[in-house]
């Protein structure tokens, strides 16, 4: 597996502030569509801005295909960004944006960009300021794809779009992924979108990585166990408790394990992506707060 983005104990602290990102060690595989989820303030935008070289780490390292993101111009050419709310120049026309893209990017694919604008039914002489949110997002995507990057980073690209524009945007993005080898890293709050388009997932909370992995593996290795009340500390060593809740008679656990659950006392059910993400988002942040879990060696904060 080639790594598109690799971080090692990556940390970022803004001036006199708290740690926006702390000890984040991640490997994002090439050719995947990576979904980055977490509540507001979890560190998503910070991580994405570090990946495109807009920010420098306070500590730790980040590399994109083996090199720091802003190492040199050729490296920057390999990374595309669709920033939050798809910023464009409001007074420049659609055609101006394409011309700008062509003169600023060495690997610019003008044919594809122009064809895409045409297919979207956009008037090339229209100033960007007069376009709808969905149209602006489509232009930002067109510009980022036409740059022919190896890694495309999108910061909540569909957050402000209506459902139809959102679907059209994701269709365009997936077409770009199908057309050429492209690694995508996108943040979103919309778990149904993440489930549709992403095959790799990173959950951030409080600036730390809670869980990361291929969606399929994550779903296959997490199980919900429901049964008579018991102490989660007395589970087999290979079952790591992610979340536990109890009533006076019943215990419900979300466990991560590679092995089948053999104990007949448990009713075992599969978990969907949304519940999995919510469980990791809700899990307490420091190991000290979660002795039962720490003893079972669950991976948090890595």
């Amino acid at each position: 597996m080639t790594a598109a983005v690799k971080t090692h104990q990556l940390s970022k602290r803004y001036r006199r502030g708290r740690w926006a990102l702390l000890d984040c060690t991640l490997t994002l595989p090439a050719g995947k569509v990576v979904g980055l989820v977490g509540v507001n303030g979890a560190g998503k935008t910070t991580l994405l801005h570090l990946a495109v070289g807009l920010l420098r780490p306070t500590a730790g390292t980040i590399s994109v295909f083996g090199e720091p993101p802003a190492a040199r111009a050729t490296q920057l050419a390999r990374i595309g960004l669709v920033a939050q709310d798809a910023p464009l120049y409001p007074t420049l026309t659609v055609a101006d944006h394409l011309r700008l893209g062509r003169s600023l990017n060495p690997g610019w694919d003008h044919g594809t960009a122009a064809a895409r604008i045409d297919r979207l039914g956009l008037d090339a002489d229209q100033p960007a300021g007069r376009l709808s949110g969905g149209q602006r997002a489509q232009i930002a995507l067109t510009l980022a794809v036409a740059k022919r990057p190896d890694v495309l980073v999108l910061d909540e690209p569909v957050a402000s779009l209506d459902p139809l524009a959102r679907r059209e945007f994701l269709q365009g993005l997936m077409e770009a992924v199908a057309a050429r080898k492209l690694t995508v890293v996108l943040s979103s709050h919309l778990l149904s979108d993440i489930e549709r388009v992403c095959d790799h997932l990173v959950v951030l909370a409080d600036g730390r990585v809670r869980v990361a992995g291929d969606v399929e593996d994550l779903l296959a290795t997490h199980k919900v166990l429901c049964g008579p009340r018991r102490d989660p500390r007395r589970l087999p060593a290979d079952q790591h408790v992610v979340q536990a809740s109890h009533t006076d008679r019943q215990t419900t656990l979300l466990v991560r394990t590679d092995r089948p659950i053999l104990d007949p006392a448990w009713t075992v059910t599969e978990i969907n992506l949304e519940d999995l993400v919510l469980a990791y988002m809700a899990a307490p942040s420091t190991p000290a707060e979660r002795p039962a879990v720490a003893r079972n060696g669950v991976q948090v904060g890595r």
Binding site: Q171, E175, V177, A179, S192, R196, V197
Partner: protein, 130 residues
Amino acid sequence: MIEFRIDSRSGVAPYHQLVHQVKQALRLGILREGDQLPTVKEVVAQVAINPNTVLKAYRQLEHEGLAAGRPGKGTFVTRSLAGASLAAHQALRQDLVRWLTAARDAGLDDDSIDALFQTTLRAGTGEGVA
């Protein structure tokens, strides 16, 4: 050619949904041997899912001997699932209608009928294996 749809609320993995829809189309005779399946690009442009999901679904169909990829051309149906059994559908359907009438007469609602059918189907499969 068929059109796929993805139900995000079903809880069924998108790739399973694609495989299921192809098989369903094969069973009902909507897809026949030699028909081309939509290209990966066409599918993702239509339903906005990850291209790898489509590839995985097509690989699964190839693995089950239902489809085959032809380099540079696309993926084609190699076997139908309707076949000889299609002729038996009519008689089986009549039996089923009679059975459903009996079940409703006995006071079962649709959910109870479905639950009974599913558990019996599973039990039957279990016996077949054992």
